[in-house]
Amino acid sequence: MLKFTSDQMSTLFSAISAMKTLYVPVEKGGEVTFGVWSETEKVRLDALKTVKSAKDLFFPQAETMMGFKMEGKNIEIQVPEEKMDEFVVFGVRACDAKSFEVLDNVFLAEPVDTYYALRRKSGIVICAACTRPEESCFCNVFGIDATAPAGDIVTWTVDGTLYWEAKTEKGEAFTAQLSEYLAEATAEEEAAVAAQNEAVKAIIAKLPYANLKVDGFTGDRMMEYFNSPKWAELYQACLGCGTCTFVCPTCQCYDIRDYDTGHGIQRYRCWDSCMYSEFTKMAGGQPRLTQLERFRQRFMHKLLYYPMNNNGLFSCVGCGRCVNKCPISMNIAKVIKALGDE
């Protein structure tokens, strides 16, 4: 384990941003989001959760896929460059780090999504272990250790000192570039990190959702859950807004649209939400006619369809953003509890 030798985080940030574009949690308009670091930005490393997850950096809410220009009978196709400068994202929590694995299974499976793949290849993920989990957190339910995130590099902050450990080849190489700012941590310091991690885990065990049970969500019981009468009660208050899906680190549905700019066509994709009445609407109409079916789709996907296709990996990471943000306080934890009671 290494440690950062200064107590000024800005020293580290300016060193990183001298090499690559650096994203950190910054406060913008009163809310915390991953933004490009600069001296003048208000860095908020104390914030447990950004409103939108770090997913946004790899799978942005809207991105241009290609353009078309028509001249007479010719159509010119403009494809964006398949090149990207490396970038670093600092301060990713364990839940968001795990969400990349969920997204990778979707976007990096054949046929590979080149837009996502390019960003994944170019991005270096530096995680920050949690120190102050809150009541909406339940990552432990999905086997995630909030104190041992899965990134290229993992950092822990104990008494104002930043400890650092590279976990991948990419992380090792990047750590080497920052060697002048890093020193070997002593055995006592490593023990202090371990002690803090144990304390954080003890806190997590006391949180209200720590004991959610998800073992019952197995493929063989899919139809049983699908036909559960509980959905009618659970969906009742749902407003059909997209808050839960847009703050979710693992939601990966998107829509592709053409925009007529007046001098050409821009084909872009943007996040879509299964909660919306227009979701997957086809020429034949809308496959999920009422909010009940749309609501059920979201949770069936997270708890059953996705794991059935991905060796049992749930596509919820227990970050609790939907718990905090849902306007009517309905969320996946309540769904797990209600369905699990059967």
Binding site: Y259, T261, G262, H263, Q266
Partner: protein, 148 residues
């Protein structure tokens, strides 16, 4: 190398929504009387000033307008009796909101121009164009995708 001064001059794109019964006829009269106003004004004929939905104004800006003007019959003279009274309230509210969002209020205007007021139509357009010209290009309420 000599730079042609006039080619550097900013030529604003103006969209004018004109009601069919008064202002469009007013524009026609301005034309037949050979009164000049710049060709940068794109006239869109609408059945009545109250046909103009606030979205029309916003979309004109999105598509590259630097100024948008709505012309209708004088209050009291509406072909449909009361349409322009509604338009008056709606546009007052929309312009107030644009101003509140910090978008230059001088880029929007409402003028009442009757079918007999060809001269007023030309004068109004000339005045509006020079106002927008002094503001420069619309930057605050534009869609970058629509810029060539």
């Amino acid at each position: 190398m000599q730079v042609n001064e006039s080619s550097k001059e900013f030529k604003p794109c103006i969209v004018a929504f004109c009601c069919n019964w008064c202002s469009y006829a007013g524009a026609d009269l301005a034309g037949s009387n050979r009164l000049s106003y710049p060709a940068d004004v794109k006239i869109i004929r609408v059945p009545c000033s109250c046909r103009v939905n606030p979205l029309f104004i916003l979309r004109a800006f999105q598509r590259g307008a630097d100024g948008v003007i709505l012309c209708g019959c004088h209050p009291g003279d509406c072909h449909y009796t009361t349409g322009n009274y509604y338009a008056r309230r709606r546009m007052t509210m929309l312009f107030s909101m644009l101003d509140y969002l910090g978008i230059e209020k001088e880029r929007t205007r409402v003028e009442w121009v009757s079918a007999a007021e060809g001269a007023k139509f030309a004068a109004t357009m000339n005045d509006f164009i020079s106002t927008v010209q002094s503001l420069g290009e619309n930057r605050k309420l534009r869609d970058l995708r629509c810029k060539e």
